[in-house]
């Protein structure tokens, strides 16, 4: 009971900033009312390519809005049967009355003409019949399934931006992760919804903890491909490794500052794993820590780049710490258990991390994902009793987390809203781990 009271208090604490910051209200879904939106299937023209592309488009758009975390998407079974292809087909009273009971309506048409895919989309505030149009967009790309998917993501992001407090949606973001499905741990990428999974590296070695640069041009990761683990830098533009200095020892977990100028990482080049920073090309090395024992997994406060959170075993089991990015003002955030893998929220307010709170012989501890308010050290548990959960990474809108979990029996990549709801498995083949959400 006491535990429940604590949790309720913390949830309340999380709701408070919602008054000032729209994203946390919508992100946690606690206390705030989600916008009820209806998304009837777009109407397709007679071109034989149009029907299959429209099927992709409708499924992706519906999923994007459902996953956004700010909508209560009306089930399609509640929709009127008459198709909608344009504003003239909208009957406001049908949509505002039960059962749809919608506040917003996203609709439009899709056509294929001479190999080009053309989509017209509208967003209507159906409760404002006098002046309903919130958004009208038109898209044109070559007629491929990928482009139907892309246009759906773009339209979804427009809607989310308009209705989600001016925060850009994540429908066009990517996830980078480690997959062993080729037989080696390689860096892979996929769309945020699990589509288009593909290998980035083919190093036939062990590659770990990829992190994409803020401009989406490079992926930094740790790899054994030259012997001991060292930082490898992959150019997504060139499709090959870039030169990057070898720091020696066990060097791993590179993390970008949000301006892309510097990297923080762990290296045992001195004989003991310590936290360092360097610039994006590996120059201007600075050592930040000096305690004996493991120091790993640094991440920058993306809002200021003035603080670094990391994991230290200086007192025994690993705990989450925070320091200034010059190494001063070290603070310990977690008070017990086994706490690793911090990820700093885009607004700088929260750390997500993996925690076995009650670690010890016989203790029924599981590794779960938690988020902690950095200022108050208050925390909330997001996953419960479902395998080993680790490596959370925030989405750029701060509403989602991607993480790895063994709850399905093998290590796989999952996403959820930042309040722990809508947990969704994205990978199913081989072992997939250490996901990282792109910055945009």
């Amino acid at each position: 009971m006491k535990r429940f009271a604590t949790l309720a208090a913390i949830l309340f604490m999380l709701v408070l900033p919602a008054l000032a910051q729209d994203w946390i209200r919508t992100g946690t879904g606690v206390g705030g009312e989600k916008i009820r939106i209806a998304v009837p299937d777009f109407s397709a023209n007679a071109d034989p390519q149009a029907a299959p592309l429209n099927k992709t488009f409708n499924a992706v758009l519906f999923n994007d809005l459902s996953e956004a975390g700010i909508f209560d998407v009306v089930s399609k079974s509640f929709y009127p049967l008459s198709p909608i292809g344009g504003p003239a087909d909208v009957h406001f009273d049908v949509w505002t009355a039960p059962p749809p009971n919608a506040a917003m309506l996203a609709f439009g048409s899709l056509g294929v003409n001479a190999g080009n895919l053309q989509v017209q989309g509208w967003l209507f505030d159906v409760k404002n019949a006098q002046n309903p149009q919130v958004l009208a967009k038109q898209y044109r790309e070559s007629a491929t399934d990928d482009n139907a998917r892309l246009i759906a993501h773009r339209f979804a992001d427009e809607i989310i931006f308009r209705l989600g407090g001016g925060i850009t949606g994540i429908a066009e973001t990517k996830l980078y992760f480690v997959s062993s499905r080729s037989g080696h741990k390689e860096v892979w990428a996929m769309d945020y919804d699990g589509a288009a999974q593909h290998a980035i590296t083919h190093l036939s070695s062990i590659s770990l903890a990829p992190r994409v640069s803020p401009d989406n041009s490079r992926v930094a990761f740790a790899s054994f491909y030259k012997g001991g683990p060292n930082i490898a830098m992959w150019s997504l533009d060139l499709g090959r490794l870039l030169n990057f200095p070898s720091f020696g020892g066990t060097t791993l977990s590179p993390a970008w500052s949000s301006d892309g100028a510097r990297l923080a990482f762990s290296s045992s080049r001195s004989g003991d794993p310590e936290i360092y920073t360097c610039d994006q090309n590996g120059n201007n090395l600075k050592r930040l820590t000096a305690y004996h024992g493991p120091d790993v997994s640094p991440v920058w406060n993306p809002r200021t780049n003035a603080q670094i959170a990391w994991v230290s075993g200086r007192t025994g089991l690993p705990q989450i710490y925070v320091m200034d990015s010059d190494g001063n003002n070290v603070q310990r955030l977690t008070d017990q258990g086994y706490a690793v893998s911090p990820s700093w929220s885009p607004n700088g307010q929260f750390l997500a991390f993996a925690w076995v709170r009650h670690y010890g012989p016989g203790a029924p501890g599981a590794s779960d994902i938690y988020i902690m308010d950095v200022a108050s050290h208050q925390w909330v548990q997001l996953t419960h009793d479902g395998g080993r959960n680790d490596f959370p990474s925030w989405s750029p809108d701060g509403r989602h987390l991607v993480y790895q979990s063994t709850r399905s029996g093998t290590e796989q990549v999952w996403t959820m809203l930042a309040d722990g709801s809508q947990q969704t498995q994205l990978t199913f083949t081989g072992s997939n781990s250490q996901p990282n959400w792109s910055w945009k």
Partner: protein, 251 residues
């Protein structure tokens, strides 16, 4: 008077001899056509047989060559030489051999062959040489891995004796270069375990250096939980994986 008589006898003798010489010498110069020989029957073609018994022997064994010829004046066997027109001989070749007998006679030649197959026995075991122990074998026999408690990288008391024994061997074999691999069990996080494995490998390195082993001999690498020795989720298995593994050589 008698002297004159003797002289006349000599004169007559010389004359006779001279005449005779003229007759003989002149007769020699003259081409004398011999009379055609009588049409004799042609000499018969020689015949030859050659056999070997047995036809197959093990290497080192012997076989008997037996031959006979007819109407031959010269008989030879390749590899043996000239032999009697008929006979037998023991042979002991080391590889399969085809014997060829050639019989030459007034009526021509005759050949006969016989093949003796020599079965190669399996090669005898190589002579037992003195066992040669490589540095790598010595290393694996003498240098033992050390094990750690959960989430710890300090050496346990029971590991100190192992490290001392490892150090004694390594100090006596300064040419040996080796790698200390730090390993962790599957629990805990990937990155943290790589750092922990690094601390474990460096803990062994520090202990070996303290015991007098040269730093030139040692390389360290951490594999974290990436290369487990044992893949079950049991404490026995986890203990196997929480170790410093000593590997001969440096990659």
């Amino acid at each position: 008077m008698e002297d004159q008589l003797n002289r006349s006898k000599l004169k007559w003798t010389l004359m006779v001899l001279a005449f005779a010489a003229i007759v003989v010498v002149g007769g020699c110069k003259k081409k004398e056509v011999p009379p055609a020989p009588p049409a004799a029957p042609p000499p018969p073609q020689p015949k030859a047989t050659l056999s070997v018994s047995p036809e197959s022997i093990d290497r080192g064994g012997a076989a008997t060559l037996t031959w006979s010829t007819q109407d031959a004046t010269t008989v030879s066997i390749e590899g043996i030489g000239t032999v009697q027109p008929g006979g037998s001989q023991s042979v002991s070749p080391t590889t399969s051999t085809t014997y060829r007998l050639t019989a030459q006679g007034p009526g021509g030649n005759a050949d006969a062959t016989a093949r003796l197959t020599v079965v190669q026995p399996p090669p005898p075991p190589p002579p037992a040489k003195a066992p040669e122990v490589t540095d790598e074998q010595l290393f694996s026999q003498n240098v033992k891995d050390i094990y750690f408690d959960y989430d710890r990288y300090d050496l346990r008391a029971d590991d100190q004796a192992v490290v001392d024994a490892d150090a004694a061997f390594l100090k006596a074999h300064t040419a040996i270069k080796f790698t200390i691999e730090g390993h962790c069990d599957e629990r805990g996080s990937t990155d943290y375990n790589l750092a922990l494995g690094d601390n474990r490998a460096n803990a062994a390195r520090a202990a070996l250096l303290k015991a007098g082993v040269s730093a030139d001999q040692i390389k360290v690498i951490s594999f974290g939980k990436e290369k487990p020795f044992c893949s079950e989720s049991t404490e026995a298995c986890w203990q196997q994986n929480r170790r410093d593994h000593f590997v001969f050589g440096q990659k």
